[in-house]
Amino acid sequence: MSRRHIRNILLKEWALLFTDPNSAFMVTLLPLLIVGQVILYIWLAFRFGAEGMLSAQVFQTALQKLVEAVPGVGQLPGEEQLLVLLLSQVNFFLLLIPTMIAMSVATFSIVDEKLSGSLEALLATPVKTRDLLLGKALAGAIPALVATWISAGVFLLVVWAVGWGEFIGFVVTARWFLTLFLLTPAVAILSFMLGVTGSSRAKDARGAQNIALVIIFPVFALIGIQITGIVWFTPLLILVLALAIGIAAFASLRAAVRLFRRESIVVQWR
């Protein structure tokens, strides 16, 4: 692995990322829009739908698991328990940020170079396939990760600003930190690895986008499982999940290198 090559790719990719209005939007404004939307939904649910939600079996199961995990929540009135439950899910919603950025940025990373002809010139340099793919994945994953962390900070600020500051202590727990600083990086790297791999295999931009859908479905599934309380992600479970995804990300890099057919790219893309 050549750090010099990876750094070279990172700097070039970032220069391209922030000179493209669409990509710059995806990395800067989209995360904030997601956070804004989530807070709005929580506020609407808390304000107008709390009674109905509390009587639903699915939320009762989830609340029960929340109280078991954070006993202090049990002292709160039912509606506030629901609010804490909804706020506690946000860290999983934040996983959408790196996956969505990966969908829009990573999936085009190789296809665009194939179309412009720069990939052939790049493959004529001594760059290794592994460095190229890792560089491209990290070039997207790092800003996506930073955007996610900033969004998490913005989320807590807004929670405090709307007068729910007293509940932050129930939300910002070991679970919150493990999700944000272990699970999110693992998901980000895996998403970008899959995006780059898909991009290297796709014949055009549309094909790359179709492949990208594969990335986002598991994250939706994870959010659904969490909301319905089917599985309550304890710190240990998050740790195991992050480790598993990290291993999958590593394996996906190896698979991506094997799937990256330099010859086919050179011969078929003119």
């Binding site: 010099r4 090559h5 002809g117 052939e120 010139a121 004529a124 001594p126 050179v266 011969v267 003119r270």
Partner: protein, 323 residues
């Protein structure tokens, strides 16, 4: 006028490209078949052939971008199918499409590509040197997207050159360029040739090949011919001397035809077109004989057959063999 390095100058060095039975098949189609050739260090080899003749495939094999299905090639001491990374350090390739990042500046683009070569300590200094050389330094901070096609081609040539490779592969470097841009690129290739770079030049432009190249290879999947432009001509056309006279009469023509070293002679207006036993040595005697017979010589030149005729005959012969 462009002056090439002489064949003797080139031959004083050693082989830098060697192929043996190099072949590449795509499915049942043979793109390149049994290519065996040698290119000397410092030589400019023109690589000609019709569309689909295997020129680009050959260049890609020699540059280590695709592997041969049979045979092998050694370029600058590296097997092209085994030592790919080391090979990429010492060869440069100008691909058919310039392929740049249009939103980045010329300087940033070149620094990026230069950053992959271990031989370049400071990509920015190296890029500056070459951008100045091709006269694009003033526009180094402009986005490549704003450049003309000719400027992009020159930039692509710099990209291929920036790590000062031992061998430079140029795949149709002037294709699609206007005459001025084409001439600029040709001038740059010529300059590189004079500096001693080994250049493998694939082109459809026969005039360009003749001006720039020491030798010319013609392929149509197989190697049809490999020689200097002059020797290729000799393969199909005998040397003919054209004597332009002030007045050509029958008596004078008879005198010339009877000269012992004149093998063939025909008349065209006030010209005599002759084949001599030794077209170099016999010329003074020929002129002397004409003058003594009362003829007034305006000029003595050698008939030049365009390389295109040679090329067309070679390709036509090959097509005939195929059918």
């Amino acid at each position: 006028m462009l002056l090439k390095r002489s064949r003797q100058e080139v031959q004083a060095s050693m082989a830098i490209i060697e192929t043996s039975g190099l072949s590449r098949h795509f499915g049942k189609t043979a793109a390149v078949e049994d290519l065996t050739l040698t290119v000397e260090a410092g030589e400019i080899l023109g690589f000609l052939g019709p569309n689909g003749a295997g020129k680009t495939t050959t260049i890609r094999m020699l540059a280590g971008m695709i592997a041969p299905t049979k045979g092998y090639a050694v370029v600058a001491g590296h097997r092209t199918d085994r030592d790919v990374e080391q090979l990429h350090e010492v060869v440069g390739i100008l691909t058919e499409t310039p392929g740049f990042y249009s939103r980045l500046s010329a300087k940033r683009n070149l620094e990026y590509f230069a950053g992959f070569y271990s031989s370049i300590e400071s990509p920015s200094k190296q890029v500056e040197k070459y951008l100045r050389l091709i006269g694009l330094w003033e526009r180094c901070n402009d986005r490549v997207g704003t450049f003309s096609k000719g400027m992009k081609h020159r930039l692509a040539l710099v990209r291929a050159l920036v790590h000062e490779p031992k061998v430079l592969f140029l795949d149709e470097p002037t294709a699609g360029l206007d005459p001025k841009a084409g001439a600029e690129v040709r001038e740059m290739i010529h300059r590189l040739g004079r500096e001693g770079h080994t250049i493998f030049l694939s082109t459809h432009n026969l005039n360009e090949a003749e001006i720039l190249c020491n030798r010319i290879a013609v392929i149509h999947s197989r190697l049809l011919a490999l020689d200097t432009p002059e020797q290729l001509r000799r393969r199909f056309f005998r040397r003919q001397i054209i004597v332009q006279l002030e007045v050509l009469d029958a008596k004078l023509a008879e005198v010339v035809k009877k000269l012992p070293f004149v093998q063939e002679a025909r008349e065209e207006e006030n010209q005599l077109i002759l084949e001599l036993t030794d077209s170099e040595r016999n010329r003074p005697e020929l002129v002397q004989a004409i003058v003594e017979a009362g003829g007034r010589v305006i000029s003595v030149t050698e008939k030049q057959y365009p390389l295109e005729e040679v090329y067309l005959r070679l390709v036509h012969e090959e097509s005939g063999n195929e059918s």
